[in-house]
Symmetry: C2
């Protein structure tokens, strides 16, 4: 049984990104990400700090846009439009959820698709659905694809079962998998006999948000198990959607939590910023 | 083994639509569909004639817009914009493919989402993908859902396998099925051991475009088989993607071709026009 750690994948992505950043800089373009944070939520600050460090490590500039939690809708809209219009910025990371008084969908829809490196906009979604490569997928499903590719796990023709149908993981991942010619099944809370459906999978992806729900009886002998969940168990310990101890007796390969898919997302974010910068140069 | 014919479904849809058209007319709104045909292709004329008859039978007005095959891009664009702006028209049916000299994607994108009763635009697609009910799905996948609903075949929790991933049937149908809580698998030409995957299905939908490809060995005993294919066999006889004689020995219920799903599509079109007209009245 192989443990598929995130770090070597993240490192490989970063080596590639660093090289591309250098090429861009040699052509007079300095890739730059704007991180928009509204308020002082600890989760946001933590994620922002990690993303910032990652960008700096690969040579991408970061503009931190920190706005008060009680910001007015139109002020925030004006700010997003300003960043959209700034040609020196190639990507926009909007930390969410936004405060409840804000119409989040409206704000998201303002981000121009070219800078939507976290795949939030409807324009990005439809390019995923259509299978065109104009937009970006959200970072977590992109990280899953990077992990499989790095480990030379070809999905073409394989049976991929995804537990979860959210717009941030399940749905976009199903589209990315379909684009790579996987045979894709999407499961969810209403699926009957979920373990049996999951046992059909060559590659099982858990993105459901329930601590250690996926046990050995969900897994076909030798299958690849990718755990996208990030949960806290009753003892306050971080764990995935997969019961690692149980699953690792059956799976052929499995990602751990922490130190799995989650540790690849900021590298993918950096990659998306570089791609956006490369496209802007054309 | 039950044969699931299209006609009773179409009839039921039309009874409902007729009633809703009357209600609209009592409120001073006459639902109206514009059919845009470019050139004189026999297939287009045939489909237009069927759609027209259907609309008339339920009391929906039709405006036939027939344009020359050598129309200029900007003239066609202006025409679409004109129809978009005409408040008396509630739906637009654009017959495709358009002549090769025309940028079809550009023309499609001009249709306003409110009038896009055949689900062609990216805006309609993303509303399907997101699971919001703002747009319309294309008529064929909608017809499949009508057929199942009419026959009281609940898809919730069931295993639905769709062969085909096109933007007109496979993909939109997967989204409609997911919205109804089916466990959805999408197969295609690269799927390994397709018969085995299909045998997992409680409901199998064939939308692949290969004459009589799906035989008894693709079907679990008692499964529902929905045949979306319309093909001509070597003898010039119309047939589906399913080998009816072979499949009917195993399936619990099966749609015929012709006289199956295909005979529901124009009724669904009428239903979409009425829904568009109802929305315009709000």
């Amino acid at each position: 049984m192989e443990i598929l750690k995130g770090k070597p994948v993240a490192d490989a992505v970063c080596i590639d990104v660093t090289k591309r950043v250098e090429d861009l800089k040699n052509n007079g373009i300095c890739p730059k990400l704007a991180i928009v944070r509204v308020g002082e939520k600890p989760d946001d600050i933590y994620y922002e700090s990690g993303a910032k460090k990652r960008m700096e490590s690969v040579g991408i500039d970061v503009l931190s846009v920190v706005l008060p939690a009680d910001i007015a809708q139109d002020t925030l809209e004006a700010k997003i439009s300003e960043i959209n219009g700034d040609a020196s910025i190639h990507g926009i990371l909007l930390l969410m959820p936004l405060p409840k008084a804000i119409d989040e969908n409206r704000i998201k829809s303002l981000i121009s698709v070219e800078k939507d490196i976290d795949g939030l906009t409807r324009e990005s979604m439809v390019s995923l659905y259509e299978g065109t490569a104009n937009g970006f997928a959200p970072c977590t499903p992109s990280a899953v694809m990077e992990l499989l590719e790095y480990n030379k796990i070809d999905v073409s023709g394989k049976r991929v079962v995804i537990i979860g149908r959210s717009l941030v993981v399940g749905r976009p991942l199903s589209m990315l998998m379909l684009a790579k010619n996987a045979t894709v099944t999407v499961c969810h809370s209403r699926t009957k006999d979920l373990p049996a459906v999951c046992r059909d999978a060559d590659i099982l992806v858990a993105a459901v948000g329930r601590a250690r729900m996926v046990t050995a009886d969900y897994i076909r002998q030798g299958a690849v198990v990718v755990d996208v969940g990030i949960n806290m168990d009753d003892e306050g310990k971080m764990c995935g959607d997969v019961d690692f101890d149980s699953a690792s007796g059956v799976a052929g390969a499995i990602t751990p939590v922490p130190a799995g898919v989650g540790s690849i997302t900021t590298s993918v974010l950096a990659k998306h910023v570089v791609i956006a910068a490369e496209r802007s140069a054309r």
